[in-house]
Symmetry: C2
Subunit: 287 residues, 2 copies
């Protein structure tokens, strides 16, 4: 069940609708009742950086295809190259790496609205593998070499904004996503290096709540968390047993409620104080 709660929510408009809704869907295009998938990416980015109308339109105008994957599937293999830029539309994935003896570290999570292959426009290879944690819907847009080759005009815009607007939209997007990913990785380093299990867990829950909230996937302090305790352990650098005990402690302290893949933050302020959490540290992009 824990794996499907988010999914049910995400699909509600589609699978669980009333008869009336279904009729609506038939009458207009799917886009009318369901938001354009790419909007979730725009929303995510806009939550952190100022996107001009022009930029939003540009992103919407990108040619793209959607695609879905089961849970437990490898989306990206460390060291591989990609020819397209991929957004997560729904579902969870994680970046991870293994040590030769099997120890796993989850480096971060890819949530709806996130770009999977960050930094791709610089031309390199993937720095981590990415694996789905739940079923996932992806949006791919063919990109760098290809698009730019066929349309060199993409390299210049007449942006009249703050100069950075002159940077081609797609590149700016990649740059933004890279920076966000870096800031999150740095948060993660601090968590693992200098925080206790209790603090780490509080910090991670707040991060996920904030990120999901930015794309409308929370209901107040409640959000679904399709992670096993094993995944939490591998993310926070702890053992499963200790994760279990840490969660019990947080519950006992009346800071969170958890169950069936759903989390409720009972006292976000207290959690933030414990974890020294400040939302989107660093990333005040708008100028």
């Amino acid at each position: 069940m824990s794996q499907t709660v988010w999914y049910t929510t995400a699909r509600r408009a589609k699978g669980g609708g009333t008869g009336k809704r279904a009729t609506d869907r038939g009458a207009t295009s799917a886009i009318a009742t369901k938001t354009n998938p790419i909007d979730i990416a725009i929303r995510r980015i806009a939550s952190v950086a100022a996107l001009s109308e022009r930029e939003q339109d540009f992103i919407r105008s990108l040619p793209h295809t959607t695609d879905s994957r089961r849970r437990g599937v490898i989306l990206v293999t460390e060291g591989s190259r990609t020819q397209s830029m991929t957004f997560v539309i729904s579902g969870w994935a994680c970046r991870q790496r293994f040590l030769p003896d099997g120890r796993r570290q989850i480096l971060g999570f890819a949530l709806p609205g996130d770009i999977l292959d960050v930094g791709i426009l610089s031309g390199g290879t993937a720095s981590t593998s990415i694996v789905t944690i739940t079923p996932v819907e992806l949006l791919k847009t063919p990109i760098p070499a290809e698009m730019l080759r066929s349309n060199p005009e993409l390299c210049k815009t007449d942006g009249s904004g703050d100069g950075s607007a002159r940077i081609p939209e797609l590149v700016r997007l990649d740059l933004l996503a890279s920076k966000l990913e870096l800031a999150r990785a740095q948060d993660h380093v601090l968590r693992l290096g200098r925080q206790t299990a209790y603090e780490r867990m509080a910090h991670l829950l707040l991060e996920l709540h904030g990120r999901l909230g930015a794309v409308g996937l929370t209901r107040g302090p409640v959000f679904s968390l399709p992670l096993t305790q094993e995944a939490l352990a591998d993310a926070l650098g702890l053992s499963i047993v200790h994760i279990n005990r840490t969660l019990q402690q947080l519950r006992a302290d009346r800071l969170v409620e958890m169950g069936a893949g759903v989390v409720k933050l009972l006292d976000a302020d207290a959690l933030a104080a414990i974890a020294d959490f400040s939302p989107n540290r660093s990333i005040r992009m708008a100028s």
Copy 2:
């Protein structure tokens, strides 16, 4: 002493030269005897990504000023904005963050050739503070908004390469640096999350050796390491005492020799096996 070894080395050509050298310096420009400072940055980047002649020339042609700072000085404050892109020419600095109770985590090191304010072209603020560990020479080049505004042509190039060459050099540089920084942060997460003290230390020493080697600051397996055990502790998420014991263990195992701020890797292969180290994981940029 440990703080000055690197410095002596870096300055050797300038301060410790013979009378004859001094004459040479007088006769030609400083650039003739001393490599152009910006070349170290080019060398660093080229060690990891293919840079065309055109790109290298572009970087060299950037207007720039040099600047030096003492050790223990703040170069960048978390949350601040910068109008210039800054390269480290010599010396060490570190990205760090504090918890309210004083615990410190070093998120990474900035070595000669590195870009300090990674991701700056995306327009945001600094995600960490940066502090000098030794005296440092910097090279600043006025940038994003400013340059692009005054010279929109920078946004298009006729690059005939792999498409990514069409991306304006400066932006590509920033993108590359961001990706490198991200890959290193991810390495760091794995270290802190799933490796033992012994493994972490081996991994860090190999990383630093590799990065210094890329800019010619090693002599075979030897390099100078101007870090106190306290700094190592804050980087690796350990206590000073444990750092000390871990180093002793590495010495006892005949894997490294250390002293007076100088490190010698006695068995890099064994260290790599212990730490699961692969140089520049992820970053095969050249196509």
